[in-house]
């Protein structure tokens, strides 16, 4: 019995030190200059703009990757117009963004679509800026969060099997109706979970966005790159304030995630 207590105790200490203390420290640091200090930090025009940029990217990336993610998951599990070999190959490719460092992710976008690349120069001439502008940041984040929803939905689709959908077809329902009335109710919570993961990841995305955006103040700066800049400029309280906002969102998302997980399992 004492072994048990030892392990449990150790685990509590571990979690407390590794996870609990750091979060608390941010909160303390954010209020170093009192409540006013916090408000100043977050209320700065550059902070508000950065938070807005983060917000915009979250919305776009989540919307796009949800739609394409669910469809791709459906194709990879159910489509009979894709050969099994091809499906297996594509399946492994889906996971690749997980193995790519965010810095490299950003680099890839810059190499492909930056002003020095063929395609990038072309778009520049047409007046469209990709790199060092919002589109590039969105693309880089799409890349990084690509597998999240797909990986949540695919196992569920595999588990429930195609027979309910076939039954719907036999009863006269075409693919669109079948999806909404039969497939969706089964994958709904997994999609939500994937969406929450995507939002959290997008909120926290740093490396890829740093490279692609150029971190231009008031133009392409996000909340995370602002924190980076603040720290480099020894503006620690301000950095802390924005970091606290981000951390609070993350913790909130985490709690939501846990709740969705329990709904998913039922």
């Amino acid at each position: 019995m004492t072994m048990r207590r030892l392990w449990i105790g150790l685990t509590f200490v571990l979690f407390g030190l590794l996870l609990g203390v750091p979060v608390v420290r941010i909160a303390i640091g954010a209020f170093d200059g009192g409540v006013q200090g916090f408000i100043d930090g977050v209320g700065r025009p550059e902070a508000l703009h950065a938070l807005m940029m983060t917000g915009i990217i979250v919305v776009i990336v989540t919307a796009v990757n949800t739609v394409f993610g669910v469809m791709l998951a459906l194709y990879l599990v159910r489509a009979n117009w894709l050969g099994p070999q091809l499906k297996r190959l594509l399946n492994s490719v889906v996971d690749l963004p997980f193995a790519v460092s965010p810095i490299i992710g950003g680099l890839m976008i810059v190499l492909l679509l930056g002003p020095d690349a063929a395609l990038g120069a072309l778009l520049n001439k047409a007046g469209i800026d990709i790199v060092y502008a919002l589109p590039g940041m969105v693309i880089a984040t799409l890349f990084v969060t690509f597998p999240l929803i797909i990986r949540e939905v695919m196992p569920v689709l595999q588990e429930i099997g195609a027979s309910q959908e076939e039954a719907a077809h036999m009863l006269g329902a075409y693919p669109w109706t079948t999806f909404w009335r039969v497939t969706w109710p089964s994958i709904r919570w997994s999609v939500v979970y994937g969406v929450v993961l995507t939002v959290a990841r997008t909120l926290g995305e740093f490396g890829a966005v740093l490279v692609v955006s150029g971190n231009i103040l008031f133009k392409t700066q996000t909340a995370t790159t602002l924190v980076y800049q603040d720290v480099e400029n020894f503006n620690v309280t301000a950095a802390n304030s924005v970091a606290l906002v981000l951390a609070a969102c993350s913790v909130g998302l985490l709690l939501f995630m846990e709740w969705v997980k329990s709904r998913k399992e039922s």
Binding site: V94, S101, M108, F143, V231, V236, A243, L246, L253
Partner: protein, 268 residues
């Protein structure tokens, strides 16, 4: 019906196009770019002493972080799955915190907690070593961001273990310790290993948390991802691409290995 045929063809092409353009092209692109000046130039970029040192440092520190995680992750996974105690649910949820927190925020946390002016920093100072802006800080950052991997890989395996396997061992006279090492640990091993591999892969790639706490002194505390970033900032895309390709290939191999181990397990 003709209408629905066009729609489905449209959807299929759009989705597959999205997939190929977003994932396949960039990856092919970077491989192409790093060899664009030829093989010799690629090798040059890689054997640049600073590049090489960065890669070696990253691998060394990632291995340390992974080993640490294997130990604490296995313990935490064990405690969370096998024991019932107040606060268990809370701890279980906290495991995912590193996945949810922005890496830049993580860096800031470590900065505040282990910096020269903090309590821990001063204690370390009195013992004669500095944490922040030195290798220990990098390891701490890596351990933090990869904390969930081993735990989450071990938990389902522990849950799956048939209680009757253990009971059989006890009836044959095995002690708890023996049962653990001969019966339970082997069952957990695939999880520990695949979790470790994923953690290692992630640690290699980590940028945000590390860049704030590492000091980034080239040749000394600069990890590969920061080196690449430096090359990009100083407008040496080919050099950046070369080291990137090395890291990428390494990570892809690890990913493939994890997949392979997992499919072998499910085939069993």
């Amino acid at each position: 019906m003709l209408r629905s045929r066009w729609w489905s063809w449209g959807f299929r092409s759009a989705v597959m196009l999205y997939f190929v353009l977003l994932i396949v092209f960039p990856i092919l692109g970077i491989y192409g770019q790093s060899f664009s000046d030829g093989w010799a130039s690629f090798v040059d970029n890689l054997t640049e002493p600073l590049a090489w040192k960065a890669v070696m440092l990253t691998v060394k520190l990632a291995i340390i972080a992974t080993i640490v995680n294997m130990a604490i992750g296995t313990m935490a996974g064990w405690v969370l799955t096998r024991y019932r105690f107040p606060g268990r649910k809370l701890l279980n949820s906290m495991v995912d915190l590193p996945f949810a927190l922005p890496t830049a925020v993580v860096g800031l946390m470590i900065l505040l907690l282990l910096g020269p002016r903090s309590a821990v920093g001063q204690w370390a100072d009195s013992l004669g070593f500095t944490i922040l802006f030195h290798e220990p800080a990098i390891v701490v950052a890596m351990v933090f961001v990869t904390f969930p991997f081993v735990i989450r890989a071990v938990q389902p395996l522990l849950e799956e273990i048939d209680a009757s396997e253990e009971e059989a061992a006890y009836t044959m006279g095995a002690t708890k310790a023996k049962t653990f090492f001969r019966i339970i640990l082997p069952n957990m091993l695939p999880g520990i290993l695949s979790g470790a591999m994923l953690a290692f892969s992630r640690a290699l790639a980590e940028f945000g948390a590390v860049v704030l706490v590492a000091g980034n002194i080239p040749g000394r505390t600069q990890v590969a991802s920061v080196y690449i970033f430096g090359q990009i900032e100083s407008d040496h895309p080919a050099a950046a691409a070369a080291v990137s390709v090395l890291l990428l290939t390494f990570s892809f191999l690890i990913l493939w290995l994890v997949n392979y181990v997992q499919t072998r397990r499910t085939a069993r």
